[in-house]
């Protein structure tokens, strides 16, 4: 088994003529919180989706626990133990909160469904209060909690999150980040994509900075927070 839980090597990916990823290499070790920051349009979401094969890497390779997963069909990736909280949350609006959570167990079957449902309700009490409510009627923060809860229902080893703080009030962002801390402490490896570099870098062990589809910088959270280029570009120069 390789040293890394997730290892991305020299990956290129395009949407038709638009090349979105250019020779991206990065990795995540078991137990880490790793973050990827970058401006809007840098290619962060594309990288997360490329791990799931859409768009597929046109060259380079993606390994998970030593196994090459570059060309595995999208619906089989989650069964390997990777869950994604995608950009825009993508909860199922016409389903109840509880049904949304139950959808999360697809990759592992429903053996632990009832126990895990209670665990999610304990972690996000708001969801318990609204368990029979249509998910489309939830507030943004609640939808984000639901999307995270749904992902956790598959008991993932690696959790990918795409801008979970986007559009949420600061108080809710802090709640979400603190639940990510808890999830990490319980042993789930986290790969977090954020534009909100300040929060993300404080939470993360390591980080990467993406510019125009390329990895520009990498380092520990503190190193990147102290880096003048990062401060100017992503922290408003403070």
């Amino acid at each position: 088994m390789s040293e890394y839980l997730l290892e991305i090597q020299d990956v290129n990916a395009s949407y038709g003529p638009i090349q979105a990823l250019r020779g991206v290499s990065m990795n995540v070790r078991e137990g880490e919180i790793v973050t990827l920051i970058g401006a809007n349009g840098a290619g962060k979401s594309t990288l997360l989706m490329t791990i799931f094969g859409d768009p597929q890497a046109s060259s380079g390779s993606i390994h998970y626990r030593g196994q090459e997963i570059t060309h595995i069909p999208m619906h089989e990736i989650s069964r390997l133990g990777i869950a994604q909280v995608p950009e825009g949350r993508r909860i199922f609006p016409g389903m109840s909160v509880e049904e949304n959570l139950r959808m999360g167990t697809m990759p592992i079957g429903d053996t632990h469904q009832e126990t895990d449902l209670q665990t999610m309700f304990a972690m996000f009490p708001r969801l318990k209060e609204r368990r029979s409510q249509r998910a489309g009627t939830l507030s943004g923060g609640e939808q984000q909690m639901l999307a995270i809860g749904r992902a956790l229902m598959s008991r993932p080893r690696l959790l990918l999150l795409d801008e979970p703080s986007l559009g949420l009030a600061p108080l809710i962002v802090r709640q979400i980040l603190s639940s990510l801390r808890t999830i990490a402490d319980q042993g789930t490896t986290i790969f977090l994509v954020e534009q909100n570099a300040n929060h993300a870098l404080k939470l993360a062990d390591r980080g990467y900075v993406m510019v125009n589809g390329e990895i520009r910088l990498s380092g520990t959270g503190e190193e990147l927070l102290a880096n003048p280029e990062v401060r100017n570009a992503y922290l408003g120069g403070h």
């Binding site: 619906h75 990736i77 989650s78 139950r102 429903d110």
Partner: protein, 329 residues
């Protein structure tokens, strides 16, 4: 030829006499038309379900769906003839075997058509699968016409008798076969609704419908679910084909077109994409069409049905129960 093997089962039925009297002649006609409309509407509903589910999950109108129903009518006739040939004449057994065989074969048709004619076009323009569906429709009609002949087919009446309501002279009746038709239709719709609302498979169908990519991220094999939806829709059309053949007794290779368009109208009326909408739309269309032809004019019943559709679309563009872009199954 199918249907001419000649099994005629005369159920020695006792007509149930109800003693209450209805005051006017019109009320009997009204009652009779409501009964006929319910039967017709159940058939529309069963077929409409297939249009609405396929539309809900891949956003295409499966123009070949009506012809799937037509093929089901032929398979029913063949099945009854074969069973009769082997001396199996007990109504319940014939019915169950015919239903099972027809559902199986028609599900296979639905599955194969999706695989061969629609799936390869999934990522092309929206128009491509539509044109492909029209092609499939023509192929089915021609293939049935060539293999079974162009003339109208007839199936002997298997169940005779009726429940009668009213006096000796003024009455309306619900035939046993109509009763069976309505009961089996509602049972089928009930089972389908239960699958969609309560089972894990149904949840997967709804997930694929609401957000296909997210469903895939969660580990759902979306191709498999789309196939399943075609199988479910075709099965309902198969049930409709069996029931229509038993009830009306005659059909030809062209019935899929007219009934298909009506069922599609029912689906749009109820809100295309909505499962309960398709059932409701079917019942409303069948009832109002039947009432109109009984009380006003038979010749204009189709004009009336489509006018109803136009009115609903003007005042409720998403249909009676449609909630576009949010909850479609």
């Amino acid at each position: 030829m199918a249907g001419h093997a000649g099994i005629l089962i005369n159920s020695k039925s006792i007509l149930l006499q109800k003693t209450f009297r209805c005051s006017t002649m019109e009320s009997h006609i009204l009652g009779q038309q409501l009964v006929n409309g319910l039967a017709l509407g159940s058939i529309y509903g069963l077929i409409a379900v297939g249009y609405t589910m396929v539309y809900g999950i891949i956003g295409m109108i499966n123009f070949a769906h009506g012809d799937i129903y037509m093929v089901a009518a032929y398979i029913t006739a063949i099945c009854i003839a074969v069973l009769s040939f082997f001396g199996i004449n007990t109504v319940a057994i014939v019915l169950l075997i015919t239903l099972a065989v027809t559902i199986f074969i028609i599900a296979l048709y639905g599955w194969s058509i999706e695989r061969v004619a629609y799936k390869p076009l999934r990522n092309s323009t929206r128009l491509a699968p539509l044109i492909s569906a029209i092609g499939v429709s023509l192929i089915l009609q021609n293939y049935v016409q060539v293999s079974q002949g162009a003339r109208t087919q007839a199936v002997p009446t298997m169940i005779q008798g009726a429940f009668r309501f009213g006096s000796e002279t003024d009455f309306f009746q619900i035939t046993y076969i109509q009763t069976l038709l309505v009961v089996v239709s509602f049972l089928s719709m009930g089972i389908l609704t239960w699958i969609i609302q309560k089972t894990s498979l149904g949840r997967q169908c709804r997930a694929v419908q609401q957000d296909r990519k997210m469903a895939s991220l969660l580990g759902i094999n979306t191709d498999r679910i789309i196939s399943t939806v075609f199988i479910m829709g075709s099965s309902m059309a198969a049930v409709a084909g069996v029931l229509v053949t038993l009830n009306y007794g005659s059909f030809d290779f062209y019935i899929g077109f007219v009934t298909g368009i009506k069922a599609f109208t029912a689906a749009v009326l109820g809100g295309i994409g909505s499962l309960p909408g398709a059932m409701l739309g079917g019942i409303i269309l069948g009832m109002s069409e039947s009432l109109f032809s009984g009380l006003v004019n038979t010749d204009y019943k189709d004009v009336f049905a489509f006018s109803l559709l136009v009115l609903v679309l003007i005042f409720r563009p998403s249909g009676l129960l449609g909630k576009p872009a949010v909850e479609k199954v």
